[in-house]
Structure formats: C-alpha cells, structure tokens
Amino acid sequence: MGGIMSKRIALIAVFALVGPAAAHHGWGSYDAANPVTVSGPILTSKFENPHATITVKGDKEWTVTLAPTFRMNNRGATADVIATGKTVTAFGYPSTAEKGEMRAERITVDGKTYEMR
C-alpha cells in the first residue's frame, strides 16, 4: 500500500520536473536572422536582475528582454527611461521558444538610443 503510494508520488514528481523542461528555453533561442522592430507604449516595466524587462503594445503585445540593471544604468537607460507609459522603439531578436518575447539589441526612448549589448 505505502509502497504503491510513494511510487505514485515519485512518478508525479518526476513528471512535474520533466514535463515542463521540454518547453523551457534559455538564451540560446533567439532568431538573429529575423530581427524585429517593435514600437509603442510601455505597458509594464520591471527594472530587475538578471535582466530588465518591459512589455510593449506594438503590432501585438511584446515582452522585451533588456540588459542587467547595472548595465542599464551605465548606459543611461535608468528605471525612469523605461517607465510605464513611455513610448519605446525596440530593435531585437524574437525568441524561437516563446511567442511574443524578444531580446533587445537597442532601444530608443524620447529620441535617445541605448545599446543593450
């Protein structure tokens, strides 16, 4: 009884770990051959490590992955620059793993361009 139960729990644990693993992605999966430019208002803004991210209402809603916050500050792209409501143009590479996500090479806000790499 107990043996079957614990086997079942172990199986569930294995599937819980392995199932989503196939869907997960990392920094290897961006399509540099087909860059995109996304322009529009910033809907949400997270000035966080390991990478700042914003969501932008362009042709559709994009999640734009930016740089680590230390580099963001160094390049002048502070939390205020990418605040919610600002209009941004982001040039970068769409994720091949997650729809609607892109990694920005550079962004332009208020006529100023900030390099992310």
Partner: protein, 163 residues
C-alpha cells in the same frame, strides 16, 4: 508553460527574498561573480586532493595534503552553495525546470556521495601512509571520478543559460 514549475519554486521566486535579490542593483551580479570565484577555489582544492589520490605529488604526505585541501574545499563549497542559492532564487521557477540545471544538481549529488564514500572508507586507509607509499586502487578511482564529476558540474553550470 512558463509557470509550469512545481509550486514550491514558484513560491520561492515570488518570495520577498527573491524579489529583493532581483531589485538590488548589486546583489545578483555579486552572487554571479562570487559563484565563479568560489568555483575557482573549490576546483583548485578538489584538484589538489584528486591528483594526490591519482598519484601526483607522490613525495607529499597524503594525510597532510587531504587535511589542508579539505578545509579549503569546504569553505569554497559553502560559498558556492550560498551564491548559487541567490542566483537560483531570483529565477527559481525557470531554472528549476531547466534540463541542464537538473542534470547539474544530479551530478552534484553524485559528487557529494563520492566524497562521503571517500571520507568514510578511503581517506582512513590513506591518511597515515608515508610519502611515496603506493595508494590503494579505491583512492585512484575516487580521484578520477571526482575530477570528472566536478569538471562536468562546472560545464553544466555555464550551459544552463543556453537551454
């Protein structure tokens, strides 16, 4: 799909601690730098022990080599665990389901079991041997296994970002 990680890792990522790590300007980069520096120290200490067990530096007393390097390895491993936890917590729900991370954790467990077996059975056999004394086969086996495991762990750690 993104949030299909087990609830405990989602909870960790959403905790105040993890959020504090993400919002700090320097904490995450410091943990990142610290992790690689501790890895360097750990690898050095482990390599000294493993190479001695494989037969290098034969003119040294194995007991003395093990005692000194073991202390350094323990300190470095503690540093690796702390900085590794900081890096993990910030993105727990993503990293937990990363196949390379899971593989790395498995290797670490095997590496720690290898150390435990070595300390229990092999270290007592070699610690009082004089310099230049031949070492038991178990010591050589353990040293080679240890080197292979920890180098693979380091390779996996760097590879997490690409999967």
């Amino acid at each position: 799909m993104e949030h299909a990680a087990p609830a405990i890792f989602v909870a960790l990522e959403q905790s105040g601690l993890a959020s504090g790590i993400r919002q700090s300007l320097w904490l995450y980069p410091a943990a990142n730098v610290g992790h690689i520096v501790f890895l360097f120290c750990f690898a050095g200490a482990i390599a000294v022990m493993d190479l001695r067990m494989v037969g290098a530096f034969a003119a040294t007393s194995p007991g003395h080599v093990l005692r000194g390097a073991r202390r350094a390895a323990l300190v470095a491993f503690s540093g690796l665990a702390v900085t590794g936890f900081v890096l993990f917590a910030a993105e727990a729900s993503h990293v937990a389901v990363n196949p390379v991370f899971q593989f790395k954790l498995g290797l670490i467990v095997i590496g720690l079991i290898n150390i435990a077996l070595f300390e229990l059975y092999t270290a007592p056999m070699v610690k009082d041997l004089p310099p230049l004394a031949p070492l038991p086969k178990a010591a050589r086996r353990s040293g080679i296994l240890s080197l292979a495991i920890w180098l693979a762990v380091a390779a996996c750690g760097r590879s997490i970002a690409y999967f």
